[in-house]
């Protein structure tokens, strides 16, 4: 199963609300435990886990990785950076608060499979519009529950992220292992092409989708569906954002900082971008192996020095390649909301939201690029800037969603950088 998700329609609030009415009735959603469908998760090294299927049935292959965030499964599911991956949550109780339209980071889930210890029997939150089980069924995404996710995590930690297969169609675990081995992993894969938009578009031209959600009824807060929304500032800068599989909250955060954003596909040439006369360029997060995206490296190299550039995650790695550097694959990646990052210039430590399986090799960077941030757990590069050009990037997710908001100041820094570059 590669490519799109045929059963999953793009996000439309009215369809979700309709589903909510039916599925939020606890007696309907109650899982009839004991009459579940068996599912097998097999890793390419032969380790297998047998659990219960939820969401869609079928067969799905991808790189198996784990995420240590204790909340935010919906944001994880819908983060396009997980394209090609089967994601296991280390937190055991999942599905507790259901699914809602506002917390989607894109129009659909992108994971190849979702692995959890226990699916909640109820979606219990005032914001919930649909249960996790129903959502994944509707979108054709496989889930497995009732396996020992700590055992899986320890295995991946010790052996490294690896290919795996989720199946409800095989009785023999060996068959699933064989499928895992036959699948494609992440190394060398361009998954960006699956998630980047086909045409360029303007994000939130009516300034309606980007307002910051809040539950505090303060002055100016507009009450809407699913909560209150803070007013937006006027637009100050026009920028172009390369969408390699951008999380929606990046766009919201950019707009909240006064950016008007023209979103362009990954293959957009530097010339096309320059023709739009933007004040800056933003490089988004995205899935797959950064080394495989040579067509992107080229275009970014042409933009550096001409415009202020800010990159996040894959965007940060794209900049590294543009500078002539390279990336390497981490053993099991950084995926979670508790990663400590130190700003080497201020000494300040920030707890960050991360999702990356590759990291920039600091030795490969030229002398005019300064490493500005380090991960305190393993001292890998988490941020860099050009010493003379208005270019900087971070490996982690200042837009959070899910995870801590502590690093949100980068968006305003980008705004200041553009203002000062003029």
């Amino acid at each position: 199963m590669t490519g799109g998700f045929p059963n999953c329609e793009p996000f439309r609030r009215d369809s979700i609300v309709h589903a909510w009415k039916f599925y939020s009735n606890p007696s309907v959603v109650w899982l009839t435990l004991g009459t579940y469908m068996r599912a097998i998760l097999a890793l390419e090294d032969g380790r297998t886990f047998i659990g219960e299927s939820f969401g869609a049935g079928g067969v799905s292959v991808g790189e198996v990785c784990f995420n240590t965030s204790m909340s935010g499964y919906q944001e994880v599911l819908t983060d396009p950076s997980y394209r090609g991956q089967i994601v296991a949550m280390t937190v055991p109780e999942v599905g507790n608060y259901g699914i809602n339209a506002l917390d989607a980071e894109s129009d659909q889930p992108h994971v190849r499979g979702f692995v959890i210890e226990e699916l909640s029997p109820v979606a219990s939150n005032w914001r919930s519009e649909e249960t996790l089980d129903h959502y994944l069924k509707r979108c054709g995404v496989m889930g497995i529950q009732g396996i020992d996710t700590r055992a899986l995590t320890r295995h991946l930690r010790d052996k490294g992220a690896m290919k795996g297969c989720l199946s409800t169609e095989d009785n023999a675990a060996e068959a699933v292992v064989a499928r895992a081995r036959a699948g494609v992993g992440v190394v060398g894969q361009d998954f960006v092409k699956e998630v980047t938009p086909s045409v360029a578009f303007d994000w939130d031209p009516d300034s309606e989708l980007s307002r910051e959600w809040t539950t505090v009824p303060q002055e100016g807060v507009i009450q809407g569906v699913g909560g209150g929304f803070k007013p937006l500032p006027p637009v100050r800068h026009q920028i172009v954002a390369y969408d390699f599989g951008m999380k929606r909250n990046i766009l919201r955060r950019l707009r909240q900082e006064g950016f008007s954003v023209r979103v362009v596909p990954a293959g957009t040439s530097a010339e096309e971008v320059l023709a739009l006369k933007p004040e800056g360029v933003f490089l988004s997060n995205g899935p797959g192996d950064p080394a495989a995206l040579t067509y992107v490296h080229e275009n970014i190299r042409k933009l550096v020095g001409k415009l202020p550039v800010f990159g996040i995650c894959l965007g940060h790695q794209m900049l590294a390649y543009a500078f002539g550097g390279k990336t390497f694959k981490l053993k099991f990646g950084h995926r979670g909301g508790n990663q400590p990052v130190k700003d080497l210039r201020t000494g300040k430590v920030t707890i960050t939201s991360q999702n990356h399986g590759f990291a920039v090799d600091p030795e490969s960077l030229p002398g005019d690029v300064e490493v500005t941030h380090l991960n305190l757990n393993d001292n890998t590069v988490e941020g860099m800037r050009h010493r003379s050009l208005p270019v900087f990037s971070v490996q982690y997710h200042p837009e959070a969603a899910p995870g801590p908001n502590d690093a949100g100041y980068f968006f305003s820094q980008f705004s200041e950088l553009i203002a000062s570059a003029k």
Binding site: V91, N96, Y97, P121
Partner: protein, 1068 residues
């Protein structure tokens, strides 16, 4: 940032005695702080009046003051020690209040002492309701609509402004929300406000809009001086708003918030700690969320380490107190390593991949007249925590960890059935049984929606409880299926529950389960959800795929802890367990601790080589024994909890070290014990054992009334009563206990006006040495845990003491004691009677150890592991040249209206120690530490029954000589007048006004001496005693205590208060 070198000497204030709202979690935090600060090279000065703490062991601080935590006494210590810094945030509210008082009186400024961790301004902002509200509004956070009041009139005005009932009333600066409540009508409002104004040290109450039914959350935040902030743990309360968080069942991490909501709360937490200005260390911030629209309200913050911090530390493995101490001296979070992973820094947020459930433990059975409704005023005395892979598993583990003879949510053979109306009421009105009522209601078919309407407990919890109930129905069929048994275990069902479903005993069920190959394995608490390798062996059990337990190959000793704190079994036993771990580690054993109490030092991950955070049931402890295959298991140190497990463990072939379970039985079985004493020629109060009413009456007739009756095999005098006639005895047998051949009742003749003596002794089979002989101040008949006691004895003759010493040693040899033994004697007319013998660590071990400067528990542990006293250099009893007084501390103030008179059933929650060169000074210090202190002048009200009048006259003369004005009711006044002592006559209640109660209420009495007039306390006496207690007027209810008080007042008059370290007392 490097550590701060501008100071070298730090004063650390402890939290004093264990009381409701302030348990042994502050020993845990204090110990961590002492260790951390010493490690950094600071000189640590410690003050704490609680001898049963590990922190007051002389090796933990450089200079240890076991002195009252009052501003006056701490000022003396500051004058003497000249510390440059004061760390007030690790000793609970007691330390914070004391530090604030020293700040306001200018003492800190005068001596150049700087507060570290949190300064006075931050503490004020965090604690003062109005200041806090303004601070929250400034940062755009909502607080409940409210108003503060200093008078009843203010209060009425505030209520009118808020608009509608119910209203919450919270007095300012009281512990555990003491004196607060929820008023549903005007009458209740007036009553609670009056009490609140009275109890608040600043006469201030907060009137607040009711947030009843909102979801309640807590965040544990840490901040360093570079302004790095992290959340250590998030906690969700199962019980919605309306129940004090200390009395709520709580769950970590938060389960029912979306990431957006959680991050909002996280951001808010940082905004709060920054705005309040807590510079470094930990704070606890409480929020509530409206279940239908997500509106978030900040409830309060504690600008210090709290009970929740201890829970958060144990729940995540992140040592909050230790790191708070390091941050206080200038380190930043990234400079401190995470001990558990070693690789990663402390500047991260623990990710937990399990579910933690905490359930409070209550002791309402001790206070039958107290209101058992759970409200905003904390009433629980302890708590248990359990860790499971899922909420269901953790919940059922925690329920059995409570040690209330329940083995799960339902169908555990101990269910109380409530009728439909009773059940609904118990769901609506929060109470101790509510969790079980939820199970019963679900099992009876009540829908989640209906229960939600009644309780407002989040549907997520209810659905999970329902899943447990549904699964229970399947248990019957699981017997043949390993897969289904494993599934049941993953739902947290105990072997007891399986046995009941299968019609088998617990042990048969265990055997079936094991035969099916279903055995638990052990997982690590590692702060990082397995992302990194963990080095600290902190385990919990589960039924997953992998066992993470590491085998060292060393000889191992398992120490079974005491479980949740309760009256009768508290910190003293944890103290002993910790000592056992230290001692055996010194001997080269691998030490393994098993306990379920998150407040303790024993459950600190570096106390033992391995920690199992598990319920102390036969099933769970046997599982660990089978897994670890220890060389020995110690059951003597954790109080009655492990002793009750001893037989089952031994029967299963587990090696119990120390005194054998057979000897324990010999001491506890009345018939065997009497036979032994007869053989040794030691006198015992005449008594006998009864398995039914007729037998009890027979024994009582034989030994003569009054008799002391109690069930066997209990601790803390549970259901112990003094009975004066046949009618009372019948009532007791019918109502108080269920006597049976398995659980007989002990009936003993009661010696009136005898002196009670406690002895702690160590025996290795060759040598027996007395730790100390303690003479009780209160006469025999009052539970030893509730009596003040003195080392050395002050009224016993040499002959009596020799006899006590000899008898103790002979019993120790006869019982083949290996380790500790405690004996209680009664002495009457120079005759010594044995009351009871307990071949185990007793409550007084820490007190004796601190008095004589010898770590008895440590030595005992080594003896149990085979060492001899002569090799350990402890062969001679030590006779200190100072006096030590242990005084009990009671929770009566939380239970208004309950009689405070002492009796055979233990009701104290904690203890303090006074130590000085004379008995009077030591007693006065003990009273000062226990609060309220003895007065130095004023009015004394004396009311003593006729039989005691001659003694009363002597007593009154003493008080008159010291210049006190005496007040007495008719009878006593006449007796005093006849003896030539002038006393003002007071009306009894009902005789006219103003009466004694009026004067008490008006605060016109400085001291009340009121001994009970007969077997059944008169209603007006109870009223006076209870009112005085609420008004914090010292009340003395025994003549011997009155004598000691007089002596204490006189000593303070003559010598004033001086302070001295424990190290000086013992020449260390």
């Amino acid at each position: 940032m490097p550590r701060d070198t501008s100071f070298k000497k730090i004063l650390l204030i402890g939290s004093g005695p264990i009381i409701i709202g302030q348990g042994c979690e502050f020993d845990y935090s204090g110990v961590q702080a002492c260790k951390a600060l010493k490690e950094e090279g600071y000189e640590v000065i410690l003050v704490n009046s609680n001898p049963a703490t590990i922190m007051t062991d002389p090796e933990f601080a450089h200079r240890t003051y076991i002195e009252p935590i009052t501003p006056e006494v701490v000022e003396r210590i500051i004058e003497r020690e000249k510390p440059e810094a004061l760390l007030p945030t690790l000793g609970g509210q007691t330390a914070l209040n004391c530090a604030m008082s020293l700040f306001h009186s200018g003492v800190l400024a005068k001596h150049g002492v700087r507060m570290i961790g949190a300064n006075a301004e931050a503490i004020h902002k965090g604690e003062d309701r109005q200041a806090f509200k303004e601070a929250m509004q400034k940062i755009g956070l909502e607080v409940a609509r409210s108003g503060t009041a200093h008078t009843m009139e203010d209060a009425r005005k505030a209520a009118a402004e808020i608009g509608n009932f119910p209203l919450v009333i919270r007095p300012a600066f009281t512990l555990g929300g003491m004196g607060g409540g929820i008023a549903y009508n005007r009458e209740e409002f007036e009553e609670i406000v009056a009490r609140g104004l009275d109890l608040s040290p600043v006469s201030e109450v907060l009137i607040e809009e009711s947030l009843l039914g909102w979801k309640e959350f807590e965040m544990e935040v840490m901040r360093d001086r570079a302004d790095n902030c992290v959340i250590v743990c998030s906690i969700e309360n199962l019980d919605p708003m309306g129940v004090h968080t200390g009395d709520s069942i709580t769950v970590a991490p938060i389960q029912t918030l979306t990431d957006k909501e959680y991050q909002f709360m996280r951001d808010a937490s940082f905004a709060v700690i920054r705005e309040i200005g807590v510079e470094t260390g930990g704070s606890n911030i409480q929020f509530c969320v409206h279940p239908e629209n997500g509106r978030v309200i900040v409830i309060e913050m504690n600008p210090r380490v709290s009970r929740s911090s201890a829970l958060a530390s144990k729940a995540t493995g992140f040592p909050i107190a230790k790191i708070a101490a390091k941050l206080a001296v200038g380190y930043t979070l990234d400079e401190v390593k995470n001990d558990i992973t070693r690789e990663t820094p402390a500047s991260f947020e623990p990710s937990i991949d399990y579910v933690v459930v905490k359930i409070p433990r209550f002791t309402f059975e001790k206070f039958p007249l107290a209101d058992a409704t759970l409200t905003t005023q904390m009433k629980s005395v302890g708590e248990t925590m359990a860790i499971g892979r899922t909420f269901k598993e953790a919940m059922q583990k925690a329920l059995r960890g409570l040690e209330i003879k329940r083995f799960g949510l339902l169908a555990d053979g101990a269910e109380k059935a409530f009728d439909a109306a009773g059940l609904r009421k118990r769901l609506v009105v929060p109470n101790v049984d509510r969790i079980f009522c939820l199970g019963q209601a679900l099992a009876g078919g009540m829908s989640v929606e209906e229960i939600y309407d009644l309780t407002k407990i989040d549907r997520w919890f209810l659905e999970h409880l329902r899943a447990i109930v549904e699964e229970q129905k399947q248990l019957k069929d699981a017997i043949g299926s390993p897969e289904k048994i494993r599934r049941a275990k993953k739902f947290g069902f105990s072997d007891r529950q399986l046995g009941i479903a299968w019609g088998k005993t617990e042990l048969e069920a265990r055997a079936i389960r094991k035969a099916a190959g279903v055995v638990p394995n052990y997982r690590l608490v590692d702060t990082c959800a397995a992302e990194f390798e963990a080095y600290t062996p902190y385990y919990y059990s589960g039924y997953g795929d992998e066992n993470e337990r590491r085998e060292s190959g060393k000889r191992k000793v398992i120490i079974l802890g005491g479980g949740p704190n309760r009256i009768g079994q508290g910190i003293e036993f944890d103290y002993c367990c910790v000592h056992a771990a230290f001692a055996l580690k010194e001997m080269g054993f691998e030490t393994i601790m098993v306990n379920s109490n998150p407040e303790t030092v024993s459950t600190d991950y570096d106390t033992s080589d391995k920690l199992y955070f598990e319920p102390l049931t036969l099933e769970d402890t046997l599982n660990i024994c089978e897994e670890e295959k220890p060389w020995g298991v110690i059951v003597q140190f954790g109080g009655q909890t492990p002793l009750n497990l001893a037989k089952g463990l031994e029967d299963a072939g587990v090696p119990i070290i120390g005194t054998s379970p057979k000897s324990i039985e010999r001491a506890e079985n009345r018939k065997l014990f009497s036979a032994m004493l007869d053989e040794l020629g030691i006198k015992q109060t005449p008594g006998g054992t009864a398995s039914n009413e007729a037998e009890a009456l027979e024994v009582a007739r034989r030994v003569g009334y009054p008799v002391l009756v109690r069930p066997s095999f209990v601790l803390g005098g549970r259901a112990m009563e003094r009975v004066h006639n046949e009618e009372d005895l019948r009532r007791y047998i019918r109502t108080a206990v269920e006597a049976s051949p398995d659980h007989p009742v002990l009936v003993d003749h009661f010696l009136e006006n005898a002196t009670e003596v406690d002895v702690d002794c160590i025996c290795d089979g060759e040598t027996a040495v007395l730790g100390a002989i303690m003479e009780h101040i209160e006469e025999a008949g009052i539970h030893s845990g509730d009596s003040a006691c003195v080392i050395p004895p002050f009224s016993l003759s040499q002959k009596v003491m020799q006899e006590i010493s000899d008898a103790t040693k002979r019993m120790a040899f006869a019982l083949e004691v290996r380790g500790l033994m405690n004996v209680q004697f009664a002495v009457k007319d120079e005759t010594v009677y044995v009351l009871e013998v307990n071949p185990r660590a007793s409550r007084t071990v820490p007190f004796v150890s601190k008095t004589i400067g010898v770590p008895l528990a440590k030595i005992a542990a080594k003896v149990m592991a085979g060492m001899k006293l002569k090799d350990l250099g402890f062969t001679q009893e030590i006779h200190p040249d100072h006096f030590s007084v242990k005084e009990a501390v009671f929770p009566f103030i939380k239970f208004p209206g309950v009689d405070i008179v002492l009796g055979p059933e233990m009701r104290s929650t904690g203890e303090v120690m006074g130590i000085d060169k004379s008995l009077g000074l030591a007693f006065a210090k003990a009273q000062m530490a226990a609060q309220p202190p003895l007065p130095q002048s004023g009015n004394v009200f004396i009311s003593i029954p006729d039989g005691d009048k001659p003694k009363a006259v002597e007593l009154a003369r003493g008080f008159a000589e010291l210049g006190f004005t005496l007040f007495a009711t008719h009878g006593t006044a006449a007796a005093l007048k006849a003896a030539g002592i002038s006393a003002k006559r007071l009306h009894k209640i009902g005789e006219g006004r103003p009466n004694a109660l009026d004067m008490v209420k008006n605060g016109e009495m400085a001291l009340i001496i009121n001994t009970p007039s007969g077997k059944i306390a008169r209603e007006d006496e109870v009223k006076i005693r209870s009112t005085a207690n609420s008004a914090r007027i010292p009340v003395v209810t025994t003549l011997r205590a009155a004598d000691a008080s007089l002596e204490g007042i006189r000593a303070i008059r003559e010598h004033g208060i001086s302070v001295r370290t424990l190290q000086e007392f013992h020449g260390i």
